[in-house]
């Protein structure tokens, strides 16, 4: 892509230097109405994402980690406007996507793509691999005929497959190979940003490593920014530069992967870290595991004040009254009245 800075209309396709801000999300909120089935009245809303802010820089990986119901997948879909946000702004190269109609959004779609979790439902079983990968290019009219064919071949090789595989159908491939096809499709328009929603969770362990390595290689070759959404803290920690930890629709901590690993500040992050089973039997019985009480509260009626207080061993009265805001030192911030000391 040539870099032109002559008109505002072109600048969204300009490649940024690594480290420059690519995406800024502020106070993003996504609500789902709860409807009674008979009369379809709205009984209330579930705030799947309750006002979060973060930024993503060119060439970096921001990991989003959290458990079921934390809103991380919803965030990913909302950033790409595949789900409607009910509030907040999504700025890409300074343009607010949240306010745009589908027609205005179209050029932006070239720069932001998605890789989905399920390798079995993310590819249309009736189309050849070539058609699947080439579709976005056709939709945007960016190439056709021989040029299109060559581009698809190039993409296949980029993800570790061969051009011959293009004439085959998805069911002839294994889960890991299908994910590669999905990645090739996402890269076909040459985006600057990829949202990856649990890209390896549905794969066997030995294949996960292949795909993670592939993603890292692609990132450095193509200067891609990743929003890497997953529940597996080990994988997120490995691939991410910075990590945002989510709980019940809020971000509770943000830091570099090293910072989070060695000195987590939010109690939930600490619990999450200690809950990950480590493949080292010599650590058994060292008693360092924190086991949280109870289940995650329903997002339809979150606790007042700090949402984590019902399961937190440090909770005090103030936690029920005032919701803590993200606070801390430079890159490492946590939303807690009593954060762990560094």
């Amino acid at each position: 892509m040539t870099v032109t800075k002559t008109s505002v209309a072109n600048d969204i396709h300009a490649r940024l230097e690594p480290g420059e801000e690519l995406l800024r999300v502020e106070d993003l909120a996504v609500e789902f109405p709860i409807r009674s089935t008979i009369l379809r009245r709205t009984l209330g809303t579930v705030k799947a994402v309750a006002g979060i802010s973060f930024d993503l820089r060119a060439g970096e990986t921001l990991g989003m980690v959290g458990e079921s119901g934390c809103g991380k997948s919803t965030t990913g879909l909302a950033v790409l406007r595949l789900i409607e946000a009910s509030g907040g702004s999504i700025s890409f190269h300074g343009h607010n996507l949240a306010a745009m109609g589908e027609a205005e959004l179209r050029p932006f779609r070239r720069e932001m793509q998605i890789v989905l979790q399920d390798p079995y439902s993310s590819l249309d079983p009736r189309l050849t691999v070539r058609s699947i990968i080439g579709e976005p290019i056709r939709v945007h009219g960016m190439a056709e005929g021989k040029a299109l064919r060559e581009r698809v071949d190039q993409l296949l090789e980029l993800v570790g497959l061969r051009p011959e595989h293009g004439s085959r159908f998805p069911h002839e491939f294994s889960g890991g190979q299908r994910q590669r096809i999905g990645i090739a499709r996402a890269l076909s328009l040459g985006p600057q940003l990829l949202v990856l929603d649990e890209p390896v969770s549905a794969l066997d362990v030995s294949i996960q490593a292949q795909i993670v390595n592939l993603l890292e290689r692609l990132q450095s070759e193509l200067n891609l920014a990743y929003l890497f959404i997953a529940h597996d803290l080990s994988v997120v920690n490995h691939i991410s530069d910075r990590i945002a930890v989510m709980y019940l629709g809020r971000i509770v901590e943000v830091g570099t992967s090293d910072e989070l690993k060695t000195s987590p500040r939010h109690p939930y992050t600490r619990a999450l870290l200690s809950a990950v089973p480590v493949p080292d039997p010599t650590r058994r019985g060292l008693g360092r595991r924190i086991v949280l009480e109870g289940d995650v509260p329903s997002p339809a009626s979150p606790p007042t004040g700090c949402r984590f207080r019902t399961r937190c061993w440090k909770a005090q009265d103030i936690c029920a009254e005032i919701e803590p805001t993200l606070d801390g030192v430079s890159t490492h911030i946590a939303a807690c009245h009593f954060p762990e000391s560094a």
Binding site: E67, V205, S206, A209, V212, E216, S234, P277, D280
Partner: protein, 354 residues
């Protein structure tokens, strides 16, 4: 590790001998389990590790006769439990054992529970099916006590609730309650925490540990997660393409893996406790179980094999190597391979050597 597990002269509780399971389809036959033998002693925790297609779930379901018989064909054996062969046992006798002597916990508790009956009644039913003399009210009391034991809050009220009214973690607890209701000697847990959030997983693992201590049941834990294995298992079987490729105690598995597949699994795990430069990825895909190559099934993906003819022609037998059993022609070269992979990954894969 329990004292019992360390003493290997005690007779096994369950012994599987040369188990074979095939699925006969229209066009092809899938050899899901190809000659698997192992045993488990009372009170021991045996972990079975493998990915999809390894045959771990299929082999264990065949123990309890849970596979539908066409298309599954189970041969080999015997599978000896308390002196009797489970494979040739009539269905009636098997039913008496299922849920009483041997109990099973599944990945998805919804498959174990009937959605239109209350949890409490189902647990009570499980008790009364195996002991007619128990009255309804006694069964009810026992079920409530079991629910309390597994940590379900307000068990009396929860007794009358339906499965969909429980959260995922609680359903898993209820399933464990139902499994231990009749004090089984052997508990089989098939991926019990895979579908759960990691903080809930921690709770359930803790519960399983508690249950094991209370009931002294032997446990077979099937999982793909080596971290979970490291937490709870005494001994481990690693399965690949329908065979056991490594069988050993817990520490040797992580300290000196004796099979390239095991090493590959260890190297491909991202870790929160240790810094890794890059992940080791086993090349290729798990094999098509209907079109297996003649020699070692792992050979096409094996860095140790390097296309050598023994690997392509002769399937390796499980043989002793140090403290472990390993099915590899070139197990003597494992130390070298471990060093190579460790270099690639940026940290010594062997536990205890960071």
């Amino acid at each position: 590790m329990t004292a019992v597990a360390q003493n290997r002269t005690i007779a096994p509780l369950l012994a599987v001998n040369d188990l074979h399971v095939e699925f006969r389809g229209d066009e092809r036959t899938v050899h899901a389990v190809r000659g698997v033998s192992w045993d488990i002693r009372p009170g021991e925790v045996l972990g079975i590790v493998g990915e999809s297609g390894s045959g771990k779930s299929v082999s264990v379901s065949s123990i309890l006769g849970l596979l539908p018989s066409p298309p599954a064909v189970v041969t080999g054996g015997p599978i000896v439990f308390q002196g009797r062969d489970l494979l040739t046992m009539p269905e009636r006798d098997l039913r008496a054992i299922r849920g009483k002597e041997i109990a099973m916990i599944f990945q998805d508790p919804m498959t174990a529970f009937n959605p239109v009956r209350t949890i409490g009644r189902q647990i009570a039913e499980a008790i009364r099916v195996h002991d007619r003399s128990v009255s309804r009210s006694t069964a009810r009391d026992r079920s409530t006590a079991l629910l309390a034991m597994v940590g379900v809050p307000s068990p009396e009220a929860r007794f009358n609730q339906f499965p969909h009214e429980y959260s995922g973690g609680m359903r898993q607890r209820a399933m464990i309650a139902m499994a231990i209701a009749n004090q089984p000697k052997l508990l089989i847990a098939d991926e019990p925490t895979t579908a759960l959030d990691v903080t809930i997983q921690a709770q359930i693992l803790e519960l399983l540990e508690m249950v094991r201590k209370e009931t002294d049941a032997a446990t077979i834990l099937i999982t793909h997660d080596l971290g979970v294995i490291a937490e709870v298992a005494d001994r481990v079987l690693v399965m690949y393409a329908g065979k056991v490729v490594e069988s050993t105690s817990i520490l040797p598995l992580f300290q000196s893996p004796r099979h390239p597949y095991t090493l590959g699994l260890l190297g491909s795990l991202p870790r929160v406790d240790v810094r890794m430069d890059s992940l080791y990825s086993i090349p290729g895909q798990p094999p098509n179980m209907a079109l297996l190559p003649p020699g070692c099934a792992f050979a096409p993906r094996c860095s140790l094999s390097r296309g050598r003819s023994e690997c392509r022609e002769r399937p390796p037998e499980l043989t002793r190597s140090g403290d472990s059993l390993s099915a590899c022609h070139f197990v003597a070269e494992m130390d070298q391979l471990t060093r190579t992979v460790s270099e690639e990954v940026g940290t010594d894969i062997r536990v205890g050597n960071e």
